[in-house]
Symmetry: C2
Subunit: 519 residues, 2 copies
Amino acid sequence: MGENDESEIIEHHDDEEMEKTRTPRYHAHSFLGSVASSEKDGYSSTQSSHRLLAYSDALISIIATVMILPVAHTKFQDNEELKQSIQALLTTKVAVYLMTFLIVTVAWAAHIRLFQVIKRIDDTLALLNLACMMLITVLPYTFSLMATFPSNTLGILLFCACVMVIGLIQATIVLYGFSRPFFLNDQIQMSGNQAYYKRHILEVIMRVPIMCLFASIFSFIYIQLSYIILAIVIFLPYISQCLKWIWNKAIGQVEDRPDSVPFYTYHPSEPLSKERVEAFSDGVYAIVATLLILDICKDNVPDPSVVKEEFNDKLLAALQEYGPEYLAYFGSFVTIGLLWFVHHSLFLHVTKATRLMGLFNTFSLAFVGGLPLAYHLTHEFPRGSLNELEAVQISCVIIFFAGLFQLAIWVTALFTQHETLHPYVRYGGREHAFMLAKLSLYPCVALGSFAFTCILSRFSTSIFHMMEIGVPFAFILLRLLVRVVLAVIRWLFCPVRNDFDSVPVEEEDSQLPINDIVT
Amino acid sequence: MGENDESEIIEHHDDEEMEKTRTPRYHAHSFLGSVASSEKDGYSSTQSSHRLLAYSDALISIIATVMILPVAHTKFQDNEELKQSIQALLTTKVAVYLMTFLIVTVAWAAHIRLFQVIKRIDDTLALLNLACMMLITVLPYTFSLMATFPSNTLGILLFCACVMVIGLIQATIVLYGFSRPFFLNDQIQMSGNQAYYKRHILEVIMRVPIMCLFASIFSFIYIQLSYIILAIVIFLPYISQCLKWIWNKAIGQVEDRPDSVPFYTYHPSEPLSKERVEAFSDGVYAIVATLLILDICKDNVPDPSVVKEEFNDKLLAALQEYGPEYLAYFGSFVTIGLLWFVHHSLFLHVTKATRLMGLFNTFSLAFVGGLPLAYHLTHEFPRGSLNELEAVQISCVIIFFAGLFQLAIWVTALFTQHETLHPYVRYGGREHAFMLAKLSLYPCVALGSFAFTCILSRFSTSIFHMMEIGVPFAFILLRLLVRVVLAVIRWLFCPVRNDFDSVPVEEEDSQLPINDIVT
């Protein structure tokens, strides 16, 4: 029951991390050492953080999408024009949803960063993390209080208090981790100047709570200033990185400091744990795909007495009332399922995720979150009304952007393709054309449907339904279609060339509307 | 761009599976071979199924818990006695929730079994699986229709249609998988009689849709018979295994047939993918932990005009109205978070999950799903009323069973501890006592609270709140407490023994109410 067993269980749970380091021998050794030291200190319960992070990702993804519910459950009057409703929605609820999504994903990014430093956990860290999670789940509520009562100090105080406590818990986790170095990742564990890392990380973490402290103090004096400070807190990393990038482009590349800290840099190419991006995206897709069925299960089981009185005991007639809801569910599940499928295909070939890719992924997910609402709207208005047309068009726009940002992830990855992409989907790779077709299918279809509904506005719903039914088949036949198109292009442009891997790919680009982004 | 790259990406995605086989060289070779054959057939898009399964688990876990929403949103009249409401609830909604949970977990178990055979996927299988997922998400709705209109043929027809289509899709997946053997798991891939495996698996899969076909035919003739058939479909594996087990015990062990199929056996010790049990449990814990905050975000942001008129523009006063909701959220999040923590600690030391452990896990999760409802009830009734007392007691009972079934998982694992548990938590292992304390903390506390509320019924809510606040601290100090208790026991019973690892554990048992199960 000695060291041998300990190393066995930890090796078992640490396989995940070994995949990344690809130096299992070295890793196991460094870890055996750390276990030995943990034995000395009496801490024998060191664990891999894998499942803790999976659970955190699941929680955060649900919380990120929760503010779509108040939007989705807004009641529309049939006689009211959608324009007005939409304007009322846009000004408050949609804005709150998007801001909440952004804030929660910022908290999630901070959580990723923290657990890229802290690689192993024990019970205390697990409980601290659960406390942190609870506060993150309260963020959307406090934010929406703040947004509903912008001139009230209490809203901003509650929000700032939440953020400050989250920051303090994260600082505690860092301090606890550095006091027991075997929790840290190998790079820091091996390095000589742990104290420097610790100071740098604490500085970055404490920046946000300190800014929030100022914001809450200023809320008593001049509340507008508080909001400016909060906006700075959220957007500062992006703004400063943008400025730095423009500056670098303008005066030429500044040399990277070789001794700079590889963690907490906020650089667009800072690595982001690919597993966690996938887990978070899976969570968002899963909760969004099931949002409509939650409502259907809750509200659309008819009351037996109503069926008896109004429908002459005919269940089928009663259920036909709900036809549009079923159709909306079918449409949104299929669309979200296929967008997940595209995301899955893309990340299968991504070897390293960066912060910028994570940002585009967040934007894509934010649009995905709006889909059930859009589909729900599509069927809430009478046939052929202006409202219905606009609901269909909004759905098209949302699908378009959700797909476009997925494409943007790939394009971003292509810029640093030797680090971030598998050879198959790089320029000239064997699957390049197929991946491009997969990623651009939804934006193209959405754009096409939008154009059609503008021209044939009377048939907007029919067009939309045909799209819903057609797209899954398009995905099944996509590989065939791409081959046919490539063969045709090859036959047209280069009938004698044998090197059919790299050239047709570039030809393929030219027939797609987004080729100026890609090339 | 040849075979080398292909094997690289697949190795990257296949690490998960390698962990299990622990023969990476062999595995990589077998896979290289399969990739080569896939090249020949023109199927170059073989992928690991890891993320597809994670997404499926997320979807199924949300769907399993969805029927708690109609229960949670039942409105209670304040003057009405809870007893009557509960009886109304128990007869329909709670029963529907529990049955749905069971049915969805049966579908999930079938899904696990299927993807223990099909180890690698391509785009077609991913899309087929998404279609299967969509039908699984509709199961709770069709079941609740059937339960609401038990004498109507349509309900049972819809439910059976769903099940039949799921079965057909699964059969298609199996046929597709066997037609391209590189999708199959290594054991079947290496074996000579694939045709035999295929026939056996298809037979097991098609059993359910065929029974459902009979059920739907009989629904036109004699509807009670249909329900009996459906009940047999769900419970048959359990009943037949129970009978077989009793039979074996009665007449002595029957020899295992050496040539029997290791998949689709329905034997209690049939292995269940540990990763998927964890992923599914994480999903359930995450959605259940956030159920109350979903409601809070949707309903508990006060209207600015109401605050202005009724509360004199004092937001704090308006929010105080919602105090009980906040407390309910806090209580349910903490309880579910800590139950997750216990589950996480347990599965960290589980090396192989079996079907029986999965069954107990399902029972535990079903009770966890009821927790938010129970906490919500706790604060919905006036202070000191009989209703409140009963709500508190129901919460205690739910926590007790959720914790007890977690303990049952461990006890089940202890029976075959050399296969299923890490040495640490086996009898006499170093963490045995600590794990027992962790697992029995919640059942003990819940039992204690229940007893106290019976005696001091006037203070039931205070007792409950003290439990909520006290338990997290108990978990933080648990390791210390266990050491103190062990030291005291050691000092009392065996002051001169040095072998302090195995003996005190059994002593520890004696102070816990469940020791007759454990020993």
